[in-house]
Symmetry: C3
Subunit: 310 residues, 3 copies
Amino acid sequence: MKHLLTTNTLSLEEVRTILEDAQAFSEGAVWKPEKQTFVANLFFEPSTRTKCSFEVAERKLGLEVVPFEVNASSVLKGETLYDTIRTLQSVGVEAVVIRHSIDSYFAELEEQIQIPILNAGDGCGHHPTQSLLDLLTIQQEFGRFYGLKVAIIGDIRHSRVARSNANVLKRLGAEIVFSGPKEWFDDSLLEHGRYEEIEQAIVTSDVVMLLRIQHERHEQEGQEGKAVYHQKFGLTLEREQRMKAGSIIMHPAPVNRDVEIADSLVECERSRIFKQMENGVYVRMAVLKRALQQGGKANVNDHQKWSVAY
Amino acid sequence: MKHLLTTNTLSLEEVRTILEDAQAFSEGAVWKPEKQTFVANLFFEPSTRTKCSFEVAERKLGLEVVPFEVNASSVLKGETLYDTIRTLQSVGVEAVVIRHSIDSYFAELEEQIQIPILNAGDGCGHHPTQSLLDLLTIQQEFGRFYGLKVAIIGDIRHSRVARSNANVLKRLGAEIVFSGPKEWFDDSLLEHGRYEEIEQAIVTSDVVMLLRIQHERHEQEGQEGKAVYHQKFGLTLEREQRMKAGSIIMHPAPVNRDVEIADSLVECERSRIFKQMENGVYVRMAVLKRALQQGGKANVNDHQKWSVAY
Amino acid sequence: MKHLLTTNTLSLEEVRTILEDAQAFSEGAVWKPEKQTFVANLFFEPSTRTKCSFEVAERKLGLEVVPFEVNASSVLKGETLYDTIRTLQSVGVEAVVIRHSIDSYFAELEEQIQIPILNAGDGCGHHPTQSLLDLLTIQQEFGRFYGLKVAIIGDIRHSRVARSNANVLKRLGAEIVFSGPKEWFDDSLLEHGRYEEIEQAIVTSDVVMLLRIQHERHEQEGQEGKAVYHQKFGLTLEREQRMKAGSIIMHPAPVNRDVEIADSLVECERSRIFKQMENGVYVRMAVLKRALQQGGKANVNDHQKWSVAY
């Protein structure tokens, strides 16, 4: 069975296969199950890009997406996540994509559920497809990971992306530094990389990866606080000027314009922010293919043939 | 015109035809309208399994499901149910599936609306597709209804399922008994079956059909109340041991684990709870086929041919 | 690039082409993009008929509709409309349909966004597809606009429809009069037509176009206020008797029955209210075709061929 829960538990071999498939999809490869295949997206937290990205990926694979609105579901009657997924499995759903506010919501489900779970973000924990799309974007740019310096800057403590990325990038041979407000640094991240002052990180890194300030998780600091953050830790016009030649800007979005990054830099030449979103579709196609191809006990793979056309 | 509003108004002939079609669908039969056909699901109450089940059934028939979210609709501007359905009909919708909190919400609509209405639950009234999927599950198990003893246990007064099932099962020749808290028994049910003590019902019945305790309709009794209910009227591990050889457990779900039924019995060998959900898809395919095939005045059946392949 | 933002900015040539295409669709014409094409509907205000109508139109063109629920999106995290649309574009969406409560929400987006925006209503501003479906309905009835007298009656000040329709109908050669409560008349409308007393408007017009009393925008007047409105300015049974031979009744819906129009007149012989809704689908197919055919810079038109079959 091929859940996709964290990047930490993916071998480098698996990561490379996913990136290869994603790259093929970005170049127009087509893969579709031969029979009608149902999936469902369970988003217990708001999302535009991840949800829409999965939707588009699913439709490009010819999958049937069963609409699931949390606020109109039996979750309101207290139904557990296990029973909800088990129900979807019973009506014929063959894979579920889940975003949930609880860290490692999948810890128990992993063994109990017989259809693949694709984690679309769990609390402050993991967000594997975000990491994978970041990897694809870096690979497209540099053709390698080994020896690259990646600076992850901002709200590291609350970021799913920081943890997922730090782990896998380091395993792939990149050097990681963390920057931003020191009080948001988390000692548990030290195993992946050291803290570095913003001015140094900016000028020495190949990839400047900005994280979103999660206003909904912090005290509301108002406009003044935002301007102060921007000056101290944001990618200002001035800092961008000092970035290394050939280096790129990344951000998982949604962007707080003029906070993490100056408004006019969001779509500047160095920015790969919208390229990341585009790559998200291809990465999600790859992990859906992986999940459905290998399937679970309940999966119909036995009497199913796949058509692949490149 | 073929609305599906209650099982009470279905003849046994009609019930048998629906079960036959549903069984065929469960074995892989395919039926699709030849032209693009639109339907809409109007759920004015939360639901996971009924809504998802209809969605899957509709997609398996190749239907186009027009999304309808009550909370984003003109119902918020005070539009009546008649005008909402009439609007959907005008834009080309050929059948509507409706769940609504008002008992017999369809009483007036039945004559006014020219496209089939499929009732997916009305207040404490009816839930015909739930009854039909229960029938299919029983028929698959025993091959007959005549002479079977069916115990319906729990919150009978508020249950759509109790009424729908009692009526049709009795007509099909089964013996019905009701059990659970006596104060939840309703004299209007006496025409279908008598009240029986839980211990006797459990050991003598071929089908033990548990109903959901609708916490949202009762006073909140807290954990203690739930444990007491479980001991007095729930299917405990001990009671399951005393069930008749070959008898089965059914529950319309969502299940309150360790209230109506012990947690570990939900997926035990006797349990047909998830089989019921699977059968729900086939039954809904059958009633949708019935509705669309016979259509209404406004339906395009006249210049439409159907393809049926078994 | 072919946004559709207002009818005011459409040339008569463009209006005629859209009506021609819409009429062809109403007669069964088929047009589909050859490749899988994604669109999204962003409704920031409640709607049944406009949203469902666009959905049906999109499916009839074979488009993939990416579900977008405002209340489950990153708009909740403060994402701007620009960033939301830009995100959708990045994941592959090729056109967006938007309803928003802010007048001219598209003013800045128009230049920034590289995929077509189809305006499905902006505040008290415009509602071009409603105007176009009104035009199609009138054209089907009379075969011309020149010389027709059209009375627009009711809540003119808050009506998107009044402004859009007045402008384009006048350009097409129709005579416009406005009626209803004088205090709801708006001097800015004088350029399109004069105010006329209800009794005169009713007996002399070819088209009696009633507008919805927007209770959600006015003080709640209660049942009494509604009855008074109906007697003074509504289409009563008595007034309908005095309408000109061959004249028709229109209303953008949802209708307040027995306020703007007597309950039993909603589906009377003169009424084209549900015909309007049906025509909405064809008009939306036509503007979607127009948008996708001409596309934007980001559009894949270059390597795309279209199949048209009439």
